[in-house]
Structures are given as C-alpha cells and as structure tokens.
C-alpha cells in the first residue's frame, strides 16, 4: 500500500507544488492520476520512490516511511517509468539495458539472464535483444524503457504519460498490457491527460489541481463531472459527451466507454421495438 499523510512539497526557493495530499492506494489497484500541466502529478509520484522527500507530512510505502529508506531500496518495490525513454537509455544493446537495474540490485548473472529473456519475450522485444537501443523507433524505445523497469518485477508500477506520441495500435497494446499487469496483482499507477485512453481503461481517478486532490473516485464519476474536468483542464471523453447530450432520451449518463454505450443504445432501441 502507498499512503501519503499531509504531504506537502516545495522545491527550495519556490512556491509549494504539493499543498497537502492525503492518499491511500491499495495493493493491486489501478489508478490514473490526472490534472492540468503543473498540477503536481509527476512531483507526487516522485515522492513514492524517494526521489523527492516531503517538505512536510509523510509518504509510506508498504508501511515504511520514505524518510527511513533510500531510492535504491524503495525502487525495488516501486518501479517508475519516466515519460521520455531517451532520459534513461544508454547501453550498447537492449539486453545490457535491461540487465542494468538487475545488476544494481545485486542479482546473480544467471538470474539476470533468465529475467531479461523473459521480459524480452513478454514485451515482444526478443528480436531486438542485440540491437542498440538508439536505432529503435520511438515506440520501440518506449517499450524498452518499460521493459527496463518491469524486468525486476516491482510490486507497484508507475507510468508517467505512457501514451504521448503513441499511435492507436500502440495504445491498444498498452491498455491490454496494463490489464495483464493488474491481473497479476500489481499496483498500476498511470499519469495521463489522455482522457479517451483513461475512459476505455476505467481506473480509479485521482484528480489533482494546483497541488491538491480535487477528486478521487471511479472514472465514471470523474469523467462525467463537468465542473471537476474544467478545473483540471480536461474534457469529457467523446462517448461521455454523447451520453450527456442524450440523457433526456433515457440513456445512462455515466457511460464513458464504447462497449457500454453500444449496450445502452441497443437496450434503448430494444425497448422501443
């Protein structure tokens, strides 16, 4: 479980970015942290693995206060995948890139071989094992960056804006993959402003605005609340907007994904027939 109590954070000499956050994310939950640019989303998740220490208040990961631990120790359980893969790729081959973290954590070489092979397989990267990460395309580099974190099998996984620059198929694959991770019992936290992507995933949404939590409810509640969305510079997902405009025709307003909408419309028509 990841908890924050009265979490406040400010960079030295700057105004507070996080102005008092109380959160509880249980093991195995799927959560999306959303909010306008500058709301504090990335800052918040950096407190989960110790990169940033609270200015006041506490962050506890699985019962351990982050003050009493280190980034290296916390990272074993909290894997953070950064937005831009170019900020971490540096090895001669993809294989070496994936082995990097395992070596840092002190795994034996044969365990490393096994784990690397396994994650290459899972993310469909085996054919690139011996390639330089720098010659891969943008989408492939993002997958390598993801693999580089998953390889040590952290309990909690945080993805910072995983959908930027991805095309539809890549996002689809990502969504399926997140579902798999969730099914494996991992806590998955994504930071995203991609309303359509989140609407199809339907996670619990924690909505941040200017350093404070302004909403913490299931996706169907947050993504249909006009006032909240406006404060966080978000818009209704298309399906949500459609259903909202049709609410007087007996269609359920809290529908935000395509398949539920399909069912709802079929039902409405079925009733008419």
């Amino acid at each position: 479980m990841i908890q924050t109590e009265g979490l406040k954070f400010a960079y030295p000499g700057s105004p507070e970015v996080l102005r008092g956050i109380d959160l509880e994310i249980n093991d195995g939950e799927f959560v999306a942290i959303m909010g306008e640019n500058g709301a504090g989303k990335t800052t918040l998740v950096k407190t989960f693995n110790g990169l940033l220490m609270p200015s006041s208040g506490r962050v506890k990961v699985d019962g351990t206060d982050t003050h009493d631990s280190s980034v290296a120790k916390l990272s074993r359980d909290v894997g953070l995948v950064f937005q831009n893969p170019d900020h971490q790729l540096f090895s001669e081959t993809v294989r070496e890139e994936l082995a990097f973290s395992l070596r840092n954590f002190g795994y034996e070489e044969d365990t490393i071989d096994r784990r690397v092979a396994s994650i290459l397989e899972t993310l469909d990267l085996t054919r690139y094992a011996q390639s330089s990460p720098f010659v891969l395309s943008g989408g492939e580099r993002k997958r390598v960056a993801l693999a580089a974190v998953l390889v040590w099998n952290p309990k909690h996984i945080i993805l910072d804006e995983p959908t930027i620059g991805q095309d539809y198929q890549q996002k689809d694959r990502l969504r399926n993959f997140i579902v798999q991770l969730s099914a494996q019992g991992k806590t998955v936290i994504i930071i995203s402003h991609d309303v359509e992507f989140v609407a199809e995933c339907k996670p619990r949404i924690i909505l941040l605005s200017r350093g404070l939590v302004i909403g913490d409810r299931p996706a169907e509640d947050i993504l249909t609340d006009e006032a909240l969305l406006d404060r966080a510079s978000l818009t209704r997902p298309q399906i949500g907007a459609l259903m909202h405009q049709l609410r007087n025709y007996g269609l359920p307003e809290r529908t935000i994904d395509v398949y539920s909408a399909e069912q709802a419309i079929l039902n409405a028509l079925g009733r008419k027939e």
Binding site: K46, N49, L51, S70, V71, A72, S75, R76, G79, L80, F82, N84, D86, H87, Q88, L89, F90, F100, S101, N104, F105, F134, A148, V149, W152
Partner: protein, 261 residues
C-alpha cells in the same frame, strides 16, 4: 555532483540598473575588473579590487546567487591555494592568487547572471561578430539551464533503476556516471537536431542582412559606466607603476619536507 554550480551563471530577469545596463558597457566594466585583478599580486590591491564588486552585486540584488557561484568554485580555489603554497610560495602570496581567481570567477558570474543571452547575442551582432557565431554562442548559453534540468531527470531516472551515485570506490563512482552522461549527450543531440529543424524551417541564413527587431542603444548611464571603468583601469595602472603598496608579511611557509626546494 551539485548542479547548483550552474545557478551562478544562470540569467534571471530582475529590474535592476545592472540588469538594464547595455551589455557592451557591462562587458567593458567586467573586463576592467578582470584586467585590474590580473595586474596585481599585492594582497591589499586584490582585496580592494574584489570589494569593488560588492556595490555592483548589491545593485543587482543577486547576493545569494553570487555567493553560490563562489561556493561552487571553492574546490578550485582551495586547489590553487594548496598548489601555490606547497610549491614554495608564501602564505600571503598563495592567498593573493586564490583571491585573484575568486575575483575573476565571481565577476564573470555576475556578468552572466545579469545579462540575458538574447542581449548578449544582440551585443555580439552589433559589434559585427558574424551572425552564425553570435547565435551559436547565445544558444549555447541559453541551453545550459535546459541541459541542467535534463541532467536532473536523467539522474532521477537512473536512480529509480537502482543506480547509487554515492557508493563505491573512486573508480566505481566514475563508472557510475556513464549511465548519466550518455543519455544526457544523446538528449542534447536530439534537442539540437529538433532545434536545427525549427530554425531551418524559419529561414535561418536566408538573407545576409538581418535587421533585428530590437536594437541595443547605449544610454547616458552606460557611457558613464564605461568612463568610470576607463578611469579605474588608468588609476590601477598608475598605482601599479608608481605607488608602492604596503606588503603584508605573515611568516608562514611550507616546511621543507619536500625535495624540490
């Protein structure tokens, strides 16, 4: 590795007379202090030259950053002192050389802190430095804080993969910086390429005759600063040749334990 060393050279826009000074006048003033500092070896003179900066720092409201830049150069300053002292110079002389170094560094730091890279570029252009050169220079200066941010992100990303930068023997620590340097360099290259594409697309180099929208004009205060600087340098030259300065002698010397003296 603290990235705060860059803070001392990073421009921040403040409405002070120093910030608003024409960069050419400011540069002449900086060079004046630079020349004076290089001229003297006498500790009293160097102290005075160092102190001349203080009213300027006060007027520019940049105390903390200025102090920070000196702290960043502390290591080098100590090194200079030690090297001088160990190789036989007097205590006072070593201190003087150290002070000279600190003066040079802090005066240039002050210059960059109060001059926007854009204005620098304009100054270079208007003194007929070829446009490509002045542009390269100012873009590099402007990219320093951006690169510093990139560096911080890279460090964060690699620490999140278990990299510990404060552990291990000397060799290990150096090797630990490879996962920081490579992404940083790659990032820098990618950024430069993107910037170059944007510049090309906006006609960079289309015409040899550029008429910048904004032009630097020297005001009366700027001419005053230049005049004062010339006077100060003249005074310094006069003092150097004609005025015998008191000598400070503290009888501390390196004990003769090394074979080179």
């Amino acid at each position: 590795m603290s990235l705060k060393v860059f803070d001392g050279f990073k421009f921040a826009k403040l409405p002070t007379p120093i910030h608003n000074m024409d960069p050419r006048a400011k540069f002449i003033m900086t060079m004046g202090i630079f020349a004076a500092a290089l001229m003297f070896q006498n500790i009293y003179a160097l102290i005075i030259i160092f102190l001349i900066q203080l009213p300027i720092v006060y007027a520019s409201r940049s105390w903390r950053k200025w102090a920070g830049s000196m702290r960043a150069g502390l290591l080098l300053a100590v090194l200079i002192f030690v090297m001088n002292f160990v190789f036989g110079s007097t205590f006072v002389f070593s201190a003087a050389m150290t002070l000279r170094f600190v003066t040079l560094m802090s005066t240039f730091s002050l210059f960059f802190m109060t001059t926007s890279p854009d204005d620098l570029g304009l100054a270079l252009e208007q003194t007929h430095v070829p446009y490509t050169l002045s542009f390269t220079f100012t873009t590099s200066v402007r990219l320093v804080p951006t690169m510093a941010l990139d560096a911080q992100t890279v460090i964060d990303a690699q620490r999140s993969r278990g990299l510990e930068l404060d552990r291990g023997n000397f060799m290990k620590r150096i090797r630990n910086y490879i996962p920081i340097l490579i992404p940083l360099i790659v990032s820098a290259i990618r950024r430069s390429i993107e910037l170059a594409e944007a510049l090309e697309s906006r006609g960079f180099g289309a015409s040899p005759n550029r008429q910048p929208l904004i032009v630097l004009r020297m005001k009366a205060t700027d001419y005053l600063v230049v005049t004062l600087t010339i006077l100060m340098v003249t005074l310094a030259v006069y003092v150097y040749f004609y005025v015998p300065l008191p000598i400070l002698d503290i009888p501390i010397k390196m004990p003769k334990i090394f074979p080179w003296f």
